[in-house]
């Protein structure tokens, strides 16, 4: 029989906080940050190897490290952190107990054991099959088994989240509809279930194939189903980090969406269309029709892109409205100049939003255009794109929200505030460099997942243009900068949790992080947002121009049909 849940009252918000929910948030967040450290350092090893002048690792180590890097950051860092977000958005924001905490701990343990097994399998050297593990290349059976365990654990976490929503509704811990941030988390969890189901459908037979029970897995079918997991799992991140953007804007500025209705509608578009786009990775494949490719890669009619573009106006609009309400009404951009740029939670959110939109979003649409994909498929353009979405977008947003989680959940003051102010900028400049220079190298044809672009051991020589080598060097320098930003983040967070000044209840009650105004519901209540309209106009112009430039590039290559 489970013990009766124990609660404390949050001095900042007045919300009831379930001790088990809090413990699970802490556990998941801590493991996530450990994987960010491990995966991030492996990533630095990758970038320093791909810098031809440095060429750090030998080929065998490089391919193992690249495999572990992808899995550790793309799956483990992000999904552990998302579990923390799910528990926060359900139990904490709804003022409720977490349903079946013991089950959530079982899920957590499975994820942890699974992730350790995968790392063991990869670093042992027998499973350098990359994140995608395309058949018929084969990894050790424990590689697939570890991912399956991890996925089932994550599925259990999603179920606990859904059950908590039911419990909160039943026990009437809140009235009416769930808050927008919880709504975003629901979207993330729904996509997660779709993702994990796709993963199970393909990885269970692949595991059986690796132990010799199934004789063959079709390589195209594998990719179709695998990307139902591989791409959709990145859409969990999009939903989760958009929810985090709203959360940070709300906590730091008391910002309200310009229209909650529209923001919820945009999340709804994600549920309906964001899981499509597995074809982004199948555009250069044989045996899949153009009709399917066009429909799937465009999320039906770019309806998920529409959702993101709506958030792209709603969030800066919310910030502008909140700032104007504070009296920063001079001119078009005073609200922006006078935003709290020294608060790393805010600056991290703002940089994440801008880089996700301009670098990740635009490049993703272009990469996912059926024909344009021909001049980008499997080049470094692809990692350039997804470092903008997953590192600049998701990771930076999660870092920013961690700066709120530490005082609110861990009850510690952040240490080294002077250094911390710079962290989002250092990381953002590094990641922007990684993304832009990889996209640049990809535009010049440089292959991804490639140990030696000088082809020094090949029987045929080939030289990429000198500009490509420059790009790879700049990519390496950017990676060092991003790693520095990452290390500062981890030192500050771990240091604060261990040694930070305790946030006493009384002091927090006196100076809460959230203003009472921030805790009341409502939309922004103003449409006078000239700054936001100009920013959105700049974004749209950049999008249209870059889109047509790539059609021009495509039209210059050999005709093929």
């Amino acid at each position: 029989m489970a013990k009766a849940p124990t609660f404390r009252t949050c001095p900042d918000t007045g919300l009831k906080i379930h001790s088990q929910a809090e413990a699970l948030i802490k556990a998941n967040a801590v493991v996530a940050v450990v994987y960010l450290l491990v995966g991030g350092l492996l990533g630095l090893g990758v970038a320093l190897t791909r810098w031809p002048a440095v060429h750090l690792l030998d080929a065998e180590t490089f391919y193992a490290v690249l495999t572990a890097h992808g899995i550790d950051v793309l799956l483990f860092w992000i999904i552990f952190f998302e579990m923390a977000i799910l528990y926060f958005a359900s139990a904490i924001l709804l003022n409720s107990r977490l349903a079946a905490p013991w089950l959530a701990w079982v899920g957590f343990a499975m994820m942890l054991v699974g992730s350790v097994i995968v790392n063991y399998a990869v670093l042992q050297g027998e499973s350098s099959v990359m994140f995608t593990s395309y058949v018929p290349m084969q990894a050790a059976p424990e590689f697939y088994l570890g991912i399956i365990l991890f996925a089932v654990g994550a599925l259990i976490g999603c179920m606990v989240f859904f059950a908590t929503l039911v419990v909160a509704k039943e026990e009437k811990t809140y009235e009416g509809s769930v808050p927008l941030v919880t709504f975003g988390a629901v979207v993330a969890a729904i996509i997660a279930v779709f993702t994990i189901a796709s993963g199970a459908i393909i990885l269970i037979p692949t595991f059986l194939w690796s132990v010799g029970i199934i004789s063959e897995i079709d390589s195209v079918v594998y990719k179709i189903v695998w990307w139902g997991m591989g791409h959709a799992s990145q859409q969990i991140n999009v939903s989760a980090h958009v929810a985090v953007w709203y959360l940070i804007a709300a906590i730091v500025l008391g910002a309200r969406p310009i229209s909650e209705k529209v923001s919820r509608f945009a999340f709804l578009l994600y549920i309906l269309f964001l899981q499509l786009a597995s074809a982004h990775h199948l555009l250069a494949e044989p045996g899949i029709s153009s009709e399917y490719k066009v429909f799937n890669t465009s999320y039906a009619l770019y309806l998920a892109v529409l959702g993101s573009m709506i958030h792209g106006m709603s969030i800066p609009g919310a910030v502008e409205a909140a700032q104007r309400a504070k009296g920063f009404t001079h001119g078009i951009f005073q609200w922006l100049r006078r935003a709290p740029w020294g608060n790393p939670a805010f600056s991290g959110m703002a940089l994440s939003l801008v880089m996700f939109g301009f670098l990740g979003g635009i490049s993703g649409v272009i990469l996912g255009t059926e024909q344009i994909n021909l001049i980008m498929h499997n080049t470094l353009y692809v990692p350039g794109h997804f470092h903008a979405t997953v590192v600049a977008g998701t990771t930076l947003a999660f870092m920013a929200v961690t700066y709120l989680v530490v005082p609110l959940i861990f009850r510690r003051e952040l240490i080294w505030p002077g250094l911390l102010k710079w962290q989002p900028y250092i990381f953002a400049v590094g990641v922007a460099g990684i993304s832009v220079f990889m996209m640049g190298a990809g535009t010049l044809g440089v292959a991804r997942r490639h140990w030696d672009i000088t082809f020094s051991d090949s029987i045929f020589s080939f030289d990429y243009p000198p500009a490509a080598f420059l790009m790879m060097g700049l990519n390496g320098i950017s990676a060092i900068l991003a790693a520095l930003g990452g290390v500062i983040f981890i030192l500050v967070v771990v240091g604060s949790i261990l040694f930070g000044k305790r946030r006493e209840e009384a002091a927090a009650r006196e100076a809460p992080m959230l203003t009472p105004a921030a805790m009341t519901y409502g939309t922004a209540g103003t449409w006078h947002l000239p700054g936001t309209y100009i920013l959105v106009g700049v974004f749209f112009t950049a999008f249209v121009l870059y889109y047509f430039i790539n059609w021009k590039f495509l039209s210059e290559v050999w005709p093929l049909s």
Partner: protein
């Protein structure tokens, strides 16, 4: 605010601002433009990936490629001894991808059409024609047939851009285009 439940149950009856409606309309129309662009390019564009693909046994594919190479071999590459094959314009040509080479070396004529067959004899590979920068996935058991028209004479390289094991980075082939 975004972290509190809506106070009024009928939150969806809140008004929407004109600017937001305009933005949604613009974004929606832009989505339609981008969607139509792909269809438009299928009709008038010259660079579309073929939808013609067949199941093929790797041994059968290898035999076809070898037969073609024997028939139209014009000389050997001086350094590597790879056969250089000059097939007649308009014909079906078979390029083998395998660990870790592209075989054989084709010599094609500028401005002529060829039906290029791509398949792998083992794992997946990536056909990346450089410096042209055309990139196509190559699968085992699938024969992808596409019509290519080399538009400029010169010496081209085929880099493998799908990770295919420890020799991935040495997997480079050649393609020649003559006037």
């Amino acid at each position: 605010m975004a972290i509190s439940p809506p106070e009024r149950r009928l939150w969806w009856k809140e008004p929407i601002g004109r600017a937001e409606v305009i933005w949604i309309a613009v974004a929606f129309v832009w989505g339609l433009v981008m969607f139509s662009a792909m269809i438009y390019w299928h009709i008038v564009g010259e660079q579309n990936l073929s939808n013609e693909a067949y199941r093929v046994d790797p041994e059968v594919f290898a035999a076809r490629a070898e037969e073609l190479a024997d028939k139209y071999k014009v000389r050997e590459d001086e350094v590597t001894g790879y056969p250089i094959v000059h097939p007649p314009p308009g014909s079906d040509i078979y390029l083998i991808a395998r660990l870790w080479e592209w075989w054989p070396i084709f010599e094609l004529e500028e401005g002529q059409n060829y039906r290029l067959h791509l398949s792998s004899l083992d794992w997946q590979h990536g056909f990346s024609l450089q410096p042209e920068n055309i990139n196509i996935q190559v699968h085992p058991n699938y024969d992808l047939v596409l019509t290519v028209t080399p538009s400029e004479a010169g010496e081209y390289s085929i880099v493998c851009n799908e990770f295919c094991g420890i020799g991935h980075h040495i997997m480079v082939g050649k393609l020649l285009v003559v006037e």
